[in-house]
């Protein structure tokens, strides 16, 4: 009789079993042919779509923020008094003279003053409330063609509007429009503004309700010589002087907080699409696993009869399911990388109907695929596929080998 003792020593090690499972699983899913490749394709499509959609959302967020920084926020701002960009009622009283340190910054080309007030324009006889934004035509801090406001001394105050504003008001270059405002003494006044330029911003919408005028003209109109509401600092300044004299420094973290919150809120909806696509792909894997266990119950019984313990069999089926995820990564990478790289290079034109989603949307979306997005999605897909695969596989633990051998399931 063969001694039982010593049998334990001859048992396969965990590593050998893992290798065996991996090898068998690979052989099984490759042997399943078309069934495997259909699953892999669905999973890889979901994988690529998730990254693409999330990349689009991330690209949109970054473009919007970049546009805000380039055309409005610069490297940070000094606000005068109670100035609050979201409360136009504060504009009329929130302007004051620049301190010496701010004036030095402006003279050094490291900042530019902006004067803001509320007013109204009358395009085609209709009244429209606007924010009058006085900027220095010679400034280079904000990426706006402010030099177009230099004017040629002709009739009317030179003015510039954005393409979105032009569309809303029907104004074109060369048009005259009546501008009404209230000066520092509370007296209403009006003048004709001449549209010198219509600026096309990468993010339409940030220009809505905004009329750019030369800083000097607006100061004259408001009777506030040398004053400003905001001083915009250049991007990348190592050191900025502290505020004081009624001026308060607001860094980019502060200035972008609201838009970041909005972006975060808007991003939630993209996670619904993310979840739906993942759900559909996982459903395919789950379905395949259930079918595989039902179809292969005799094989399961055979594996157990040949000496594989049932937890190893569960491991085998789980690894088989997880391998769908692994193959989907490989297949997804094969067609996804060129596809995503192409979309990153060419961008995607946003239909006009989508230009207002509650926040400004760029005309052309350039997706951004961060390492975190790709690795995070990869990890999530792999973990989800493994978990989903293990659910039907865990039923094997309840399967009696004798039933399995007869092709029976309960």
């Amino acid at each position: 009789m063969v001694e039982w003792s010593g049998m334990r020593n001859r048992c396969p090690t965990r590593r050998a079993i893992e290798m065996l499972i991996f090898r068998l699983a690979l052989r099984n899913i490759l042997g399943a042919g078309l069934r495997t490749w259909l699953n892999v394709f669905v999973l890889s499509a979901a994988f690529v779509m998730i990254i693409w959609v999330q990349g689009m959302v991330e690209g949109m967020n970054r473009t919007v923020m970049r546009a805000k920084i380039d055309t409005e926020l610069g490297g940070g701002q000094y606000w005068y008094g109670d100035y609050d960009p979201y409360d136009p009622l504060t504009y009329e009283d929130s302007h004051g003279p620049l301190t010496e340190s701010l004036a030095d910054l402006v003279r050094g080309g490291e900042a530019t003053p902006v004067l803001m007030t509320t007013g109204a324009i009358y395009p085609q006889g209709r009244v429209q409330a606007v924010v009058l934004s006085g900027i220095d035509p010679g400034q280079t801090i904000l990426r706006l063609p402010s030099e177009r406001l230099a004017g040629d001394g002709g009739y009317g105050v030179p003015a510039m509007i954005g393409a979105e504003m032009a569309k809303e008001t029907g104004l074109m270059v060369g048009d005259y429009v009546t501008v009404r405002w209230r000066d520092v003494n509370g007296t209403f006044d009006a003048d004709e503004a001449r549209i010198e330029h219509i600026v096309s911003l990468s993010v339409p919408g940030v220009d809505r309700g905004l009329l750019w005028l030369p800083l000097g003209e607006l100061r004259r109109m408001l009777q506030v010589p040398g004053e400003a509401s905001v001083v915009v600092a250049a991007q990348g300044l190592d050191e900025v002087p502290p505020g004081g004299g009624g001026w308060t420094w607001r860094d980019l973290d502060y200035l972008l907080k609201d838009i970041k919150d909005l972006v975060k809120f808007k991003s939630q909806s993209s996670y619904i699409i993310y979840g739906l696509m993942l759900f559909m792909a996982l459903l395919a894997v789950f379905d395949t696993q259930v079918l595989a266990i039902w179809r292969r119950r005799r094989e399961i019984g055979t594996l157990i009869a040949l000496g594989m313990d049932r937890f190893t069999v569960i491991g085998l089926f789980t690894v088989e399911g997880a391998m769908h995820g692994l193959l989907a990564l490989v297949v997804g990478a094969a067609y996804g990388i060129p596809l995503l790289a192409w979309s990153m290079a060419t961008g995607m034109a946003v239909p006009e109907m989508m230009s207002d989603m509650g926040m400004p949307v760029p005309q052309v979306l350039y997706p951004v695929y961060g390492v975190r997005l790709v690795l995070g999605t990869t990890l999530l897909v792999m973990i989800s596929v493994t978990v989903v695969s293990s659910l039907p596989a865990s039923r094997i633990a309840k399967l009696k080998p004798t039933d399995a051998l007869r092709g029976k399931t309960r």
């Binding site: 049998m7 090690t13 005799r298 009869a305």
Partner: protein, 237 residues
Amino acid sequence: MENGALITTESLTKQYPVGRGKFTALQNIDLSVDTGEFVGLVGPSGSGKTTLLNLIGALDFPSEGRAIVIGRDTRELSHREAADLRNHHLGFIFQTYNLLPVYSVYENVEFPLLLLKKSAAERRQAVMEALDWVGLTDKAKSRPSQLSGGESQRVAVARAMVKKPEIVLADEPTANLDAANSHNILKTMVDLNRELKTTFVFATHDSKVIRYLRRKVTLNDGRVVGDEEQVPDPESN
């Protein structure tokens, strides 16, 4: 347990729940099988042959009594220990061959050795030897779907024998085979039994198999109704 017995059953009983009651598939089976025996459990369908084979193979556990296989009471084995017992000491042959469809003939035969963590060289030698026993070395690269029924069962025999187990449990191994193939398979088993001293336990009601047996245990309604030595007579009709 008798001295030298490889398999012993004592008052072995197996019951299955049926509705609110119980169906007794085996009742008080006392049996002893020694090393090198070529024994058959014979009887009509439903007599408990396969159930007894499954209990000996630790694929199922008795309701009462016990089955002692290679010195171990199968009731006391955990699932993992039962798997170890089958892995190291038992070979199975099924009526429907149960070959793994995505593997080649070679890989099917190699499979038990992978579970035993044999080296590649050991596996290769053992697999080729087993395929040689059953005369299928030329089919090593074929898939099960490319084989005839007789060839498939010969692969199953090679798979059961490749690790040279102490016991081979064969459940209706010739039920799907014609007379010529049945004869070939059984002759191979007889040769292996003689050469390797492997104990063969059959569950069968096939007269072709019964003629090869040296001991016939007859079951009826879950009870042993006969246990007799016999002289094999393969050539008789």
